[in-house]
Amino acid sequence: MRPARAHPLWLAFVLHRVSGLALALFLPLHFWVLSWALTQPQKLNQFLSFAEQPIVKIAEFGLIFLLAVHVFGGLRLMAMEWLPWSAPQKTLAAGAIGVAVLISGTFFLQVV
């Protein structure tokens, strides 16, 4: 009994929620790893070299992608809410994802 939701704005919402959620789950881990800098720098280094593995790179790519998607998606939302209403929301949503792909792509190209 769910309405068909496969329309662009709903997908944009899901993407924003999933990315937000993923970021919120990732962030404590990130903070934790960083805090090793103080107490166990060698462990941090171990981690960082472990992070050189391709599979981890791909995961990082995903993470940056999510962050970018979330940021630009969020900007889109705030633009829609606060700036005088502009109709082509769907284009904006797509644009935000596009930019995200671009940035994370750049990042990916940098690391490999």
Binding site: M1, R2, P3, A4, R5, H7, P8, L9, W10, F13, H16, R17, L77, M80, E81, W82, P84, W85, A87, Q89
Partner: protein
Amino acid sequence: MDADTAPLEVSVWRGDAEGGSFQQFEVPALENQTILDVVSWIQQYADATLTYRFACRVGMCGSCAMMVNGQPRWTCRTHVKKVLRDRHVEIAPLRNLPVIKDLAADMDPFFDKWIAAGGAHRPSASRDDPIPGIDPADGARVEASAGIECINCSICYAACDTVAGNPDYLGPAALQRAWTLLKDAKHEGRSAILDAVSGTGGCHNCHSMGSCTVFCPNDLDPMSAIAGLKRETTRSFFGRRK
């Protein structure tokens, strides 16, 4: 029987507030048949106890909305051809509202929220005053007029996942009505509207999913109206009320 005259296979949700399940019916396929006609045929000829609701038959009263193949629709204006999948169609009561019986939902929560959103006009003049001259092309009036033809059918309310998850949320139609009043030069005490839509169930809960706008059979755009409310409330938050 050829493909055109083979009966329709219709799954209809039967039950009440306690719960229920789908029941199958075979309904003769006829020309110019709407989903309301299908449901009516079942009640008139197959199962006299089937409950549903309609009044105007032409998309004006907004009392015949149901879920058709999982999507909210005015059944009186939904041609069978448009929704038939392989001769099959599934009909259920409108989502996000309590069920009274079978296909009839209880619309009271929807209207309670309409009022709670400040959706009733407050007069700034009386019957003894002349009718105010208002330029129909005035910017605010154009915005009000864009949302005024809502027939409170609750389709958008049923389509919205925020409503599904958040029982306090006033929902798209009520908020859109509040927006039209905010833009109505005749409405007294417009700041009261901003308060009414800023509470725990207010416009700020909307995630701009846009299903309301996609599904509104009247081509209205509650999502933009809600965005407008967010903008105005934000402005007043910073004390830049005009």
